[in-house]
């Protein structure tokens, strides 16, 4: 029997109520409040005072903000292509007939469900220039490893590498689902026409996988703008400020410097950046397909 009218609404409200209440109270509330706070000056100790556009004006002249934006974009430019390529490679490899396929999929997915703090700490040890395994292995190959997280030039590449390692499994799962939706007949037909493995990948797999790839791309873009945990644990923004990123700046302004209004303004600029990028990509996708 189909439930109708008021009764149906009641059931809906009962099921959705608790989580909806949580979202309204702890997500929607602070979002609205932060928009208002972005136009104030608030140090938590004294009541907020109206500041007009001063926070945004300050933002435009804040060299540390621009440096953090630059580092965030560097992260994005390294991380997004790499994680998509490795995710696609692993997905394609594990879509075929491979022994212990399920076990391999689980292994690649394991870092995704591991907490960032644990992953970052483990990699911090692996990459330790004096006592780490990575440099010990490099030394056996006769290579003198860099100082990784202690070298301003190597710190961001290290963070990117660790992030790619952690998120490859996530991209893999999305693309695996997409791959399984591609009828096997297409590959058989292509094979009969004489297409090589590479040509099949290039002309059958990737075009049909485009919606899944776009989805993975969008999520990875949003994640890169919000990059924080790994930076916070692995480098704290160092060495010598080489890995400061936007969210880390926001946290610092809000909780170390007690500039709540300024931090809120920064958060909204970040939101607009993410929104604009995602919007542009969804437009791009529509034109593609």
């Amino acid at each position: 029997m189909y439930e109708r009218g008021a009764r149906r609404w009641l059931v809906l409200a009962l099921f959705l109520g608790p989580s909806l209440l949580g979202v309204l109270l702890f997500v929607a509330g602070p979002i609205v409040a932060s928009l208002a706070l972005a136009f104030t000056s608030w140090d938590l100790l004294t009541p907020p005072t109206f500041a007009g556009l001063r926070n945004f004006d300050r933002l435009s002249r804040d060299l540390e903000f621009w440096a953090a934006l630059r580092h965030t974009v560097t992260f994005l430019a390294g991380y997004v292509p790499l994680v998509l390529v490795t995710g696609l490679a692993v997905a394609v490899a594990l879509n075929g007939r491979v022994p212990a396929r399920g076990a391999f999929r689980a292994i690649f997915f394991l870092p995704v469900v591991t907490s960032w703090v644990a992953v970052a700490l483990v990699w911090k040890w692996l990459l330790n220039p004096q006592f780490g395994l990575v440099n010990a292995w490099l030394a056996q190959l006769g290579v003198r490893g860099p100082a990784w997280l202690f070298d301003p030039g190597w710190a961001m590449p290290s963070v990117i590498m660790t992030s790619v390692w952690k998120d490859t499994g996530f991209v893999m799962v999305i693309l695996l689902a997409g791959l399984q939706a591609i009828p096997r007949e297409y590959f058989e037909a292509a094979a009969i026409d004489g297409a090589s493995r590479w040509q099949q990948l290039r002309h059958v797999t990737v075009p049909l996988l485009a919606p899944a790839i776009f989805f993975a791309l969008t999520i990875s873009l949003i994640n890169s703008f919000q990059v924080f945990d790994q930076v916070y644990v692995m480098t704290g923004g160092g060495p010598a400020g080489a890995t400061t990123v936007l969210v880390e700046r926001i946290v610092k302004q809000a909780f170390s410097f007690s500039r709540m209004g300024y931090a809120s303004a920064m958060s909204w600029v970040l939101f607009v950046l993410i929104f604009a990028t995602t919007f542009a990509f969804s437009r791009l996708q529509r034109r593609w397909s």
Partner: protein, 407 residues
């Protein structure tokens, strides 16, 4: 009649329970190791002050201020809390603290001679006393006697200068075996002091003087040890804490705080301390913490009673000394309270702690203290990693601090 008496007794007990005043106390100086001592002191205070109950909570220094400010923003600050000297002005200037004023003046047990003078003065703002100092500490030169013996170098004395430090460090250093002559952190707290010792100082008001020849010489001295190879770089340390390196017997000398005494008891080599060696002149650290009463507190009288107990009671002083729980900020003339400290040994030269206080210089303090320290630290880190020269960093620090303070 019996029932009536019982009821009366019951009412009396209930009345007393309601008359109980509760003081909420928030502390960062109470680390994990000292919680039992704090609880014992609270019990002692409550027995001396019937009707007052103290409820405490603690947080490590790194999280303390975030929680404190959130409590203020939520309109629910603790009645009594702790402030370090550097953050005191931020709170005092915003009207968040209750003046101790009349209560302090009327207190028979407290006089001008009770506290170490600089520690008491540190917690007055625009002539009003807002806090009583509860602890203070300083920084000294720790040295590993075994490494000095092995290198055939004479132990440091109270007359040492920076040249003596460099000479000894070079004799002791053996980086191939991960042994270095010295570690002295390159950060805000070391720099303000070394700048003063070099004849300069970090001046942030009324005029800003950060990029001066003396301060450049000071920073050259700090990073010069890395350049000379007698102090490990960040990459050589690889995240190892400098105190762990000292404790592992890999450092000849270490510039660090007296709060390390307890930890170094476990070292398997002989060590001692001296007053920090002099540059152009001598300068040492001044770290002080105070207990203050929040302006909105509804129980200000009880809160004050707890503050003065923490600051001036013999029970607290004895506990702090017996458990290496920082140093009570009492006047040095109070030898009865302080003499047990000198007799504890390990390190033997504990007189150096008090001798250091004679040269203590206070750090620069501004309303936007965390940002001031962050700017200075960023510039110092850039020099440490070699991405800026001393001149570039101080020039930039001068400019950035000026724009911060003009903001």
């Amino acid at each position: 009649m019996k029932a009536f008496r019982f009821l009366a007794a019951l009412l009396l007990v209930a009345g007393l329970a309601f008359a109980q005043t509760t003081v909420n106390y928030f502390s960062f100086t109470t680390d994990q190791d000292h919680v039992p001592q704090l609880e014992a002191l609270i019990a002692e205070f409550e027995s001396q002050n019937p009707g007052i109950q103290v409820r405490y909570s603690t947080a490590p220094f790194a999280d303390y201020f975030t929680k404190l400010q959130t409590d203020f923003a939520a309109g629910n600050p603790p009645d009594v809390f702790e402030l370090n000297y550097e953050n005191f002005v931020t709170f005092a200037s915003r009207g968040t603290l209750a003046p101790l004023g009349e209560r302090l003046g009327a207190d028979p047990a407290i006089s001008a001679e009770t506290f170490y003078p600089a520690a008491l003065e540190a917690f007055a703002f625009e002539g009003v006393q807002y806090g009583l100092p509860i602890t203070f500490s300083t920084v000294v030169l720790f040295y590993n006697q075994d490494l000095f013996d092995a290198a055939g170098v004479a132990y440091p004395t109270d007359d040492w200068t920076w040249e003596d430090v460099m000479a000894a460090a070079e004799a002791i250093s053996d980086p191939d075996n991960r042994v270095w002559g010295i570690y002295q952190p390159v950060q805000f707290w070391e720099f303000y002091k070394v700048a003063h010792a070099a004849g300069g100082g970090l001046q942030v008001g009324p005029e800003i003087a950060i990029d001066t020849p003396e301060n450049r010489a000071a920073l050259e001295y700090l990073v010069g040890k890395i350049e000379a190879g007698v102090m490990p770089t960040d990459a050589q340390l690889s995240g190892m804490a400098n105190e762990d390196l000292f404790q592992a017997g890999q450092l000849g000398m270490l510039v660090s705080g007296i709060w390390m005494f307890e930890r170094f008891q476990q070292a398997d080599f002989a060590w001692d301390i001296v007053v920090e060696p002099a540059g152009e002149r001598r300068a040492t650290h001044f770290f002080a913490n105070a207990a203050v009463v929040a302006a909105p507190s509804q129980v200000a009288d009880a809160a004050y009673a707890w503050v003065r107990f923490l600051a001036a009671s013999p029970e607290v002083a004895a506990t702090r000394i017996a458990t290496n729980w920082e140093l009570p900020a009492l006047s040095l003339s109070n030898s009865e309270a302080l003499s047990p400290y000198l007799e504890r040994g390990a390190p033997d030269n504990r007189e150096a702690v008090f001798a250091s206080l004679a040269y203590a210089v206070t750090p620069p303090v501004v309303d936007r203290q965390p940002e001031l320290q962050d700017v200075i630290n960023q510039e110092l880190e850039a020099v440490r990693f070699g991405s800026k020269t001393v001149a570039q960093a101080l020039e930039s620090a001068q400019r950035r601090v000026a724009s911060l303070l003009a903001d």
